[in-house]
């Protein structure tokens, strides 16, 4: 095989790897939407990314993960107090509901609303139960978003450029 044939074969293989990575990414994002984990607000977020802010989505996602971890810890600590300061708990819930809504984390927002209703009723047991749901939903979306970022990096490493999905 001549050098030009080898180069052509290598380029073809790279193109196939890139196509496979993009396919995996598209399927991952489709599943996030189909499972109701992300709504259209996440698409709005992706559309804000441009040449002046090429890492905007990653920055916002990582900030969401970091802030959410802190808020969940604050919620856990507040609900362990006796007596519970429900106003303080609700303030944390409000923050979490707001940030999850802004990023499009639909199911996290939904369980935050349930937690807010328990705060309104000053129902400590209800709050604790709802908080467990919040933690589960957050862990789920956190893992999926981290996978999304990993897949994006793989696409970029293979020579791909955003948007990573045709629908954007």
């Amino acid at each position: 095989m001549g050098k030009s044939d080898e180069a052509a074969a290598s380029r073809e293989e790279e193109a196939m790897q890139l196509a496979a990575a993009k396919q995996e990414y598209a399927e991952h994002m489709d599943s996030l939407r189909a499972e109701g984990l992300l709504d259209d607000q996440f698409l709005e977020l992706q559309q804000l990314q441009d040449e002046s802010s090429p890492d905007f989505v990653e920055e916002v996602v990582l900030l969401f993960i970091q802030d959410s971890g802190r808020i969940i810890q604050n919620l856990t600590d507040s609900l362990e107090q006796t007596p519970v300061n429900f106003k303080k708990v609700d303030a944390h819930v409000h923050q979490f509901k707001g940030s999850s809504s802004s990023i499009g984390a639909k199911r996290v927002k939904a369980v935050c609303i349930i937690l807010h209703m328990c705060c309104d009723r000053e129902d400590q047991q209800g709050c604790l139960f709802a908080l467990e749901h919040v933690k589960r939903e957050f862990d789920l979306i956190k893992g999926k978003l981290q996978t999304m970022l990993k897949l994006e990096k793989q696409i970029i490493a293979l020579g791909g450029t955003p948007p990573f999905e045709d629908k954007l």
Partner: protein
């Protein structure tokens, strides 16, 4: 008569690419001055929002719309910015914030004589929320998250349309 002007000013983003020839530099300066003389002043928005992620996202939306943006984490900071002599073309006012909430901040701004359009932003679409905000003196009410399209409609409705670039 031709004037050569060397003025220390910052052209509005995105600036036209500076041309290589000196004679074309003169033309570039005159074009930018003419643009300013025709009233294409860059509009400025005050974003009053306690949740950091929400501020980051809205800031990016405003930047992409070629709008300058000041930020306040609570209503008191928003009021203080006006006491310090700042003025804005539009104010986006969150409802629930620590220190001073959106209702109180709006009331105080109106008592100070601030006539800037104030858009109330809240995660709830409750009628009672709307009524309280309008009583406080807001001009408009929107539920969060605020999309680019909704923001553009608000800007047009409240006369801040001249900065809006063509939709991409």
């Amino acid at each position: 008569m031709h004037l050569i002007l060397f003025l220390p000013f910052t052209p509005p983003p995105p600036p036209p690419p500076p041309p290589p020839l000196f004679s074309q530099c003169l033309l570039w300066v005159l074009v930018v001055l003419e643009r300013n003389a025709n009233g294409h002043r860059q509009r400025k928005v005050l974003l009053v929002e306690d949740t950091r992620i929400n501020r980051i996202i809205l800031r990016k939306v405003l930047q992409n719309l070629n709008l300058l943006c000041d930020e306040a984490e609570n209503g008191k900071i928003a009021v203080d910015l006006h006491v310090q002599g700042n003025s804005y073309d539009l104010i986006l006012m969150d409802k629930e914030m620590p220190v001073m909430d959106g209702h109180e901040a709006t009331r105080q701004l109106r008592l100070m004589g601030v006539k800037t359009p104030i858009i109330a932003l809240t995660g709830n679409a409750l009628q009672s929320d709307r009524e309280l905000f309008f009583e406080a003196g807001v001009n408009d009410f929107q539920t969060k998250p605020l999309s680019r399209d909704k923001l553009v409609q608000l800007l047009i409705r409240h006369g801040v349309e001249s900065s809006i670039p063509a939709a991409g």
